[in-house]
Symmetry: C2
Subunit: 354 residues, 2 copies
DNA sequence: ATGAAAGCGCTAACAG
DNA sequence: CTGTTAGCGCTTTCAT
């Protein structure tokens, strides 16, 4: 009671009733006007909007969500925000959220099973309208929690095949084939591959794509080193690679961080990139443009990926009928920069070892 | 009616009443038990929790927020998520959010005044409990919207001095002085500074700190080039710098991206870093570890900054009384990596121009 | 200590 | 086309 009377004095907590009163209409009409229901009399609508603008009224989304049963929030679960792969994705989600009047509930599992669990709980408590799961690997039981509550889901590569679950399949082969053929065209014969952690589907798929691409052009894919998608892994991989004879003159990496590690180790070994060693990455994170030299890499467009994911969620939410299962495809392709060059002629080394 | 009876069959949309029924208590007791109000009978509490766990009940945060008047959401407004300065900050916010049972509403203005406006609107509509504004520059009128609604705010460097507004002041001087003295100790006499966009307070402050630090040790600060905090700006700056005689042997940059641009241009000019040119950055973004060579830079801890911001908001929210104005301080300091070395001896150049 | 009941701010039947 | 009214799921007096 006291609270309500206070509102007469400070109108910083306006509600729809107050607007109704001042515009001399019912709350229903205010609601309709604000939601631009076409059937409202333009006269009344104008009156309502006038008051709304004058008072700086903003509808309370919580209340809306409560009654409408839709929060207009999408969850986004990533494995680590600081992984350079994700900021671009988040930005794209943000852009689309603004465009479509949603909010993003971002969550970062930091590879911790407990955090994943919390992550899912948070999504459910906030009653998100859908979740994009961009973490490489997640407990099935957690996914069940979401599916149980009929929350639309979208995965990359690893999603279960079920209703209300969309899947974005990455075509690794295309980009990796281009990379291999690019190196081959530069007369590289000894082309190595540094893998990611081999328990990840995506890392496995990249490796397989490499092998197939080498097969296609009759080159042996015997120079395969296991990495872990980190800079340190890339450094270690190059060191191992130096022991092989004949030496690799080109290295294709399972992701960009690995490639950056390779470049870094090459620098430490006084091995010049690209004149003595060509390096190709994968992902095309923003950082790839900023290395010295700028990295030739296989692009897997983060913007495109995010767009597909967002659209997948939107269509599941808007869809009334039993939504058809949809598969989305994302193609990869090579981006040429300066970390690749003609293979060095055998026997000739530009710099003597220091 | 129909809706309610459906719930008998599919319990995926449990509510507090259903829990109450099954635990044979009132909804009030359920609420109390869940919120761990100490006065509830342990017996009843146990009964409630049993049902809650069995049914996988998660309270509806929207409803909670509606009645409690607190959303447990903090807004975070940044200028661009893809700016490498921010992911670490967001991750820290995320960590603290999990710890304290909040959510983060992230918003990215992408330097667009319209987006800023939308950003503020979104914050208000979702009834956030506080907003951290980490965008360099924002319309006063927008800030007014938030202040008007008594939303606690925290700024970095640029906040107005008002109640409910916290401010984090950065001590640029400390780190920049260390950088200057580091270069001086390496016998650099010609030390240049590449500024950021000079309409930004933070850029101005860095430049001033440089000038003062040079003064302190009796070196002239005549080599100042205006940059724009981008890689391209850094490249352009170094080109300009090459015209000055005697040439600069050390360059301090207003941020890391600029420094990376300088390194990149040096590479293009076949000028070796650090043996012919020492480069120092500012911010210590993650990327700084990944450049070739790794960048010596002034650290402004993003984790620390984020922590201060989050705590500032928390304390404003929890505080009941008229909150005392608080100023937080963040100190900067030099991180040594490999982009700096002894100044080259005059007259001696290792490589002839190519 | 527990329960009944009144709302939080909004939308959506349902009447008129 | 507009208004009345019954909730959405929860917390919180106020009685008991």
């Amino acid at each position: 009671m006291l609270l309500r009377s206070q509102k007469f004095f400070s109108h910083f907590s306006m509600d729809i009733r107050e607007i109704a009163r001042r515009a001399k209409v019912s709350t229903a009409t205010v609601s309709r006007a604000i939601n631009r229901i076409p059937t409202v009399d333009p006269q009344l609508s104008k009156r309502v909007w006038k008051v709304v603008d004058e008072l700086g009224y903003y509808p309370n989304t919580q209340a809306r969500a409560l009654v409408s049963g839709r929060s207009r929030i999408f969850g986004l679960i990533v494995s680590e925000i600081t992984n350079p792969f994700f900021p671009e994705i988040l930005q794209t989600f943000e852009d689309l959220a603004v465009e479509n009047n949603y909010e993003i509930l971002i969550t970062s599992t930091v590879h911790d099973p407990k955090r994943m669990e919390i992550s899912v709980r948070r999504m459910i408590e906030r009653r998100v309208d859908g979740v994009a799961i961009l973490t490489f690997g997640m407990e099935d039981s957690l996914i069940e929690h979401l599916r149980f509550r009929k929350v639309p889901l979208v995965f990359v590569d690893v999603g279960p095949d079920a209703p209300l679950v969309a899947n974005i399949r990455i075509d690794y082969q295309n980009g990796i084939r281009q990379a291999v053929q690019h190196l081959a065209a530069l007369r590289h014969k000894r082309i190595a591959f540094v893998t990611g952690p081999l328990h990840l589907k995506s890392a496995l798929a990249r490796k397989a794509a490499f092998q197939q691409s080498m097969d296609e052009i009759g080159l042996p894919s015997d120079l395969i080193i296991e990495g872990d998608h980190t800079l340190e892994g890339g450094k270690a991989a190059l060191i191992q690679l130096m022991d092989f004879r004949p030496r690799a003159t080109g290295v294709l990496c399972s992701n960009d961080m690995t490639a950056i590690g390779v470049i870094r180790e090459a620098y430490d070994l006084d091995l010049s990139v690209p004149s003595e060693l060509s390096v190709v990455g994968f992902d095309d994170i923003r950082l790839a443009q900023f290395t010295t030299p700028p990295l030739t890499t296989v692009q897997m467009s983060q913007r495109e990926l995010a767009k597909l994911a967002f659209q997948a969620l939107m269509s599941k939410v808007e869809a009334d009928g039993p939504s058809h299962r949809v598969e989305y495809k994302l193609v990869t392709s090579l981006i040429l920069r300066d970390s690749t060059a003609l293979a060095p002629t055998p026997g000739e080394r530009k710099k003597p070892s220091r």
